[in-house]
Homo-oligomer: 411 residues x 2
């Protein structure tokens, strides 16, 4: 089965946003055995949209289009589809209900402009959208099954997962299903992860291995299309065991948990609590922790002590340590970790202090330098790492993951 | 002048890599006044490549193609170009010299496979590549000027900057350029932003209005292609003034700053410092602040006091307040805000406490409830907000932006 992906929006053509939708959709299509043969991005205007739809229609079995379903004047997808298919736009009862339900759930009257979103090309099937205002829809044009999805990432992903992919699996030969395992790794570059797993596909015929860099984490996917129920399931298990063995302690989770989720699981199992003292990571560790539902059970405090005075006042770091060793030092992060453990009463304290960049580096402590401290009931330690990057967001993220990885290995 | 961008490679179609080339090239094109009307990604096979080249040829003035110029068997771009243009591949002296110079600089003999890279479609102009093995080239096909560049990011960017963009500037009518303004808004749904700005394009002919939801922020872009120096510049300024007027105090920034950057600018201007006490936002406010380079000038501390004991120990919130009003209350966030202001010595303290979900809600305080406190030298206030969402990430983000917006309006 062949597919094309069309993303729409001036912001893509202007290069203001990178088109991550096309890659995400393609990856999901790959996983259910659909071959993506083309990506296409066009602007929000009737001519380009119609030309794109008519160009794709009849040239592949399935197509996904994202964007242009919003309530404003520049949201033209439904109109362009109607004109391409030669049908009128009609008010769709299911779409009206979807829009009404969305606003009702929020106890707000439906704004007039949102009613526009309930007008769909005649003959299309509405896909109600419980997570946003724009109902999605599907329509056959010239033998190609099109799905039209909102461009808002969360809504697009939800509707792909809940509606499009199941429909595509139904279109595929029966009994065939996907067996998939995700392994989260941290600490090895993608090329080395690939080298360690080289030959796995020939060793376990029928198992596919894919890699995805969600930096600084590398995800490994092992998957198979099981044609007759469970003949590939055992092979898949053996391949996963082999992969885990080859990746060793770089494996954060053998079941696709994120770094914070893997740490959370381990803290819950061992009934330990944690507190964080963050300088260069600026709250990111706390934010990653609190993304995990139920984190209040094990996460007590993150003190984002950006100013040295805050390190002294909140964490009790000594002014002398800061003066003689500097904020970015083994001595300071050890005092920060011990301080936050003491102040919060947590079982474990972790601390970060470094230079995220782009400015602030010196010859001795270049941009990318970080010290990470950890304090437990048995003592306090510090480790040092220099990231090769000079960019602030990237370094904050790497520093935070380094700290979580140190914590993961300690519990 | 209109352009199309073609990126090639199976890894793009499989979703293994996100196509960042198309966005980067488009942004550069925009900056020199070229309007990008289409992105296209196709696989590394003769059929797809030829079809793409022939489809684009004659439909725009300029096109850039990346990838497929390497030395291996699956690098087919030059052959596909030759077949599309109906010319043979011939050894190009400038291309041979480029390959030879590259290897000479590394004191290595030219491998046989790299000589293939010196065979270009007859009639094309070689663009020597000093930073890699693959010479680039340009060729007119059916009235469209094509540039074929290597897919290696560093080489592609170098050749775009050094060769393609200067050539395009020479092709342009003098004075033509893009005029663009971004307005960041917060607090109005996209539909209402659109309603407020409806009719703007007809009022200011030649000005385009676009919307982008980077939730919870809505970005409005006003842009025009100025053909003769500055006739549209005044119109653009008038349109921006009208848009700002219609959007009122929902405008976070009239020049595209993020919420945190707008707050940062205001704090720097007024020479004020800030500290944060976060409960439900879990460090996200600190992380948003520290994404801004130079934040150490005005951001002193974020105390992520997830546990009640941390609220008492670190911020001095009274146990009695927590007991009688609960952690999610006006009284608690006021004490948190005042506490973090006192502990840090900052000019302003802000605090959040709420229920991000998906669990933890009650009838009285449903998921989505947040209290936000602010403490300044003139007193302490609290405000209350209920988000319509039940999802944790979304609520954390909305709560954080609500707090930043309150801060923005207070300074």
């Amino acid at each position: 089965m062949r597919a094309m992906v069309i993303t729409t929006g001036e912001e893509i053509l202007k290069g203001e946003v990178v088109d991550t939708h096309a890659a995400w959709i393609s990856e999901k299509f790959c996983e259910v055995g659909v071959e993506v043969v083309r990506h296409l991005s066009v602007g929000d205007n009737m001519t380009s949209l119609k030309e794109a739809f008519l160009r794709v229609a009849g040239r592949c079995e399935v197509a996904v289009v994202t964007g242009g379903l919003g309530p404003t004047e520049d949201d033209l997808t439904a109109r362009a589809v109607a004109e391409s298919a030669g049908v009128p736009l009609v008010e769709d009862p299911a779409a009206t209900a979807s829009v009404a339900a969305y606003f009702e759930g929020r106890q707000v009257a439906v704004p007039a402009s949102n009613l526009k979103q309930a007008r769909l090309p005649k003959g299309s099937t509405c896909i109600p959208n419980p997570v946003g205002t724009a109902p999605a829809f599907s329509l056959d044009i010239n033998g190609t099954r099109f799905w039209f999805l909102p461009g808002v990432p969360r809504e697009m992903r939800y509707l792909m997962t809940e509606a499009v992919l199941p429909a595509i699996v139904d279109l595929q030969p029966s009994g065939s299903r996907l067996v998939k395992t995700a392994i989260t790794t941290f600490g090895l570059p993608e090329s080395v992860v690939g080298e360690r797993l080289s030959g796995l596909e020939s060793l376990f015929q029928g198992i596919h291995v894919g890699y995805r860099a969600a930096l600084p984490v590398i995800e490994v996917k092992l998957w198979a299309f099981d044609q007759d129920g469970n003949s590939l399931q055992q092979l898949q298990q053996a391949a996963v065991a082999e992969a885990l063995n080859r990746l060793g302690d770089y494996v954060v989770s053998g079941k696709g948990l994120s770094m914070a989720e893997a740490v959370a699981e381990r803290l819950s199992e061992t009934k330990q609590t944690v507190a964080v003292a963050e300088s260069c990571t600026g709250g990111l560790i706390g934010s990653l922790f609190t993304d995990v539902s139920g984190s209040s059970d094990w996460f007590l405090l993150s003190a984002v002590t950006y100013a040295n005075s805050a390190k002294e006042n909140v964490l009790g770091v000594s002014g002398k340590t800061l003066e003689s060793h500097g904020a970015v030092s083994a001595e300071t992060v050890k005092e920060m970790a011990a301080g936050v453990k003491r102040v919060s009463g947590a079982d474990i304290g972790i601390a970060t202090s470094g230079i995220a960049g782009p400015t602030g580096g010196t010859d001795e402590k270049p941009v990318g330098t970080v010290w990470i401290g950890i304090a437990t009931d048995t003592g306090t330690e510090a480790m040092h790492f220099v990231s090769p990057f000079k960019e602030r967001h990237q370094n904050k993220r790497i520093f935070a993951f380094k700290a979580l990885d140190l914590l993961r290995r300690a519990i």
